[in-house]
């Protein structure tokens, strides 16, 4: 189990449960370093005073806030400490709400809470919260402090654990007013067809069906480059133009979607490679270990795969 990011207590009425906080996401991104092109040496970032043109040691650097009138106010660690929330070791539950009422737009970073210590009482109190909240799909709202900043958090039950998510404040979500919401209201027939099309393309949500193909392609590009191969950028695609006749396009889309449904995804396997998306072609190229696949256009992939 990963290291905890924070320890403290979860305060629920007069019950305090000692808990530890763990991240609920992990980073699989490939990270790059800045290098000097000429000698491939690492780039260091050094801090300079803009006025004196001299490097400044860390001890001489402070934080400043720019006021609306352009003046700056230097803010010291002591200044920040004076306003730091006192309750740095407690998550205070203030209220309970229904999960369905919180739009996912408000959720920020996800974590887990686990009970700490060996004593029986806290672990039972943790279990009690899991059972009491889990039954009704209720979410606890509270506040807690991590690294001097105070967060609004939502705590809910996920697979028998208490999951904590930091929340965006109301004023950090922009109003959707002013966004162009399109043209005419669709006719009943159009809407019915669109709903039928969505139904035909609907499945159960299974997150494991979606792989990070960007990560795979990037790994592939790095491996090929390391072997000294040339990689060229794909040609930019042409922007598809809006269809002139919505109803006709809906009917054709629906016919294709339902046709595909009956064939059970077998269309590509037996038949025409050109019908597959570039992603599907890329997956096949990966299975067949086609060299240079990541830089191939859709047409090139079709050509190469059809030769095999």
């Amino acid at each position: 189990m990963a290291r905890s990011l924070w320890t403290g207590s979860l305060s629920f009425g007069l019950v305090n449960v000692p808990v530890a906080l763990y991240s609920a996401v992990r980073d699989h991104d490939l990270h790059f370093h800045q290098l000097h092109e000429k000698d491939a040496a690492r780039i260091d970032i050094r801090r300079f005073c803009a006025k004196e043109d001299e490097e400044v040691p860390l001890e001489e650097i402070g934080h400043a806030y720019e006021l609306e009138n352009g003046k700056t106010v230097v803010v010291t660690d002591e200044d920040l400490e004076a306003v730091a929330p006192r309750k740095t070791r407690t998550i205070d539950i203030e209220a309970f709400v229904d999960l369905a009422d919180i739009d996912p737009i408000y959720f920020d970073h996800p974590y887990f809470l686990a009970p700490t210590g060996d004593s029986e009482g806290p672990r039972r109190a943790y279990q009690l919260l899991v059972e009491a909240m889990g039954r009704t799909e209720r979410v606890a709202l509270g506040r807690f402090v991590m690294r001097t900043k105070e967060y609004l958090v939502a705590i809910r039950v996920r697979d028998g654990r208490l999951a904590l998510t930091t929340m965006r404040f109301g004023d950090e979500v922009r109003p959707s007013k002013g966004i162009d919401t399109g043209g005419r209201k669709p006719s009943k027939q159009q809407l019915d067809h669109a709903v039928a099309l969505i139904d035909a393309l609907s499945t159960d949500w299974d997150p494991t069906e979606w792989k990070d193909r960007y990560r795979e392609r990037l790994q592939d590009v790095i491996a090929r480059k390391r072997k000294g191969k040339r990689i060229s950028a794909p040609k930019p695609e042409k922007a598809p133009s809006p269809v002139p006749d919505l109803m006709a396009a809906l009917e054709r889309s629906l016919a294709e979607a339902t046709g595909k449904g009956q064939a059970g995804n077998g269309a590509g396997r037996s038949g025409d490679l050109a019908d597959l998306s570039r992603e599907e072609l890329y997956e096949r190229a990966q299975e067949a270990d086609v060299p240079g696949r990541s830089s191939m256009s859709k047409d090139e992939l079709v050509k190469t795969l059809s030769r095999r």
Binding site: R42, R46, I61, I105, Y126, L152, I179, I198
Partner: protein, 253 residues
């Protein structure tokens, strides 16, 4: 309206919906900039070559992926673009799922999609159909040379596009290990806790809770700028509860 971040097309079957993307969220955390304490001047971050010990222009900096000890594979712009794929301006919604079935842990960033210049009727149609079905469309979305999984759903009269976390980026609950209590909570205790949950129940109102810390920091800065002394902080130590049942009863009393 702020400037759009991305212009492209959402497609479903043969229907193309031109859209413009806008950020739906903005962090209001108070940000500081670095200054030289001696003279209050701005601090600049300059790039130096670690081997030559001299400043390097931005044009001379490249991105390198470390493959071994001090061994890097340098990727050019075109090569990074190759990894992004060729569908840079189309989000093809391949599947639809119940929006409520997606655990919120999968949602990452949110954007609003507004109707593009052409095809405004198609935008309205997609929005209304998603609203009626309560479904979210899933597809791939390329932004800043990187491909994301995106979910598109109706939200507050507009289309919202969320970038999504991949399944292997989400830590399974099972990996959070702790020993279960020797005795499970009693029904009576669960019932009491349930009552406490109910007594604190309210409707979620995002504007009800303010970022008090942000307000305190901004207040402190204003006072400091005006030469006023800082406010005295309040202190509230947390109480320890002795007995679970007694504590629950006391909470409800």
């Amino acid at each position: 309206m702020a400037r759009s971040l991305w212009n492209g097309t959402i497609s479903v079957g043969l229907i193309n919906v031109p859209i413009k993307l806008y950020s739906a969220t903005e962090s209001k955390t108070v940000h500081f900039r670095q200054v030289h304490l001696e003279d209050g001047e701005k601090i600049e971050h300059r790039r130096f070559c670690s081997a030559e010990d001299r400043e390097v222009a931005y044009e001379e900096v490249v991105k390198g992926f470390e493959v071994g000890d001090d061994e890097y594979v340098v990727l050019e712009k075109d090569e990074l673009a190759a990894a992004a794929g060729d569908r840079t301006h189309v989000v093809e919604l391949e599947r639809f799922v119940e929006a409520d079935a997606i655990d919120p842990v999968f949602y990452d960033r949110t954007y609003y999609a507004g109707a593009g210049e052409k095809g405004a009727d198609a935008y309205r149609l997609l929005h209304d159909a998603l609203e009626r079905t309560g479904r979210a469309g899933l597809g791939r979305f390329t932004f800043h040379n990187r491909e994301y999984l995106a979910a598109v759903r109706s939200h507050d009269g507009v289309l919202a596009l969320h970038t999504m976390r991949f399944a292997d980026e989400v830590v399974p609950a099972k990996s959070v290990k702790f020993s279960a209590p020797g005795r499970k909570p009693r029904d009576r205790e669960i019932e009491m806790a349930g009552k406490l949950v109910d007594s604190l129940h309210e409707r979620f109102d995002p504007d009800k809770r303010k970022d008090e810390y942000r307000e305190a920091v901004l207040d402190m800065i204003k006072r400091k700028a005006a030469g006023k002394p800082p406010r005295k902080p309040k202190e509230q130590p947390p109480e320890e509860a002795p007995d679970l049942m007694a504590a629950l009863e006391a909470s409800l009393a």
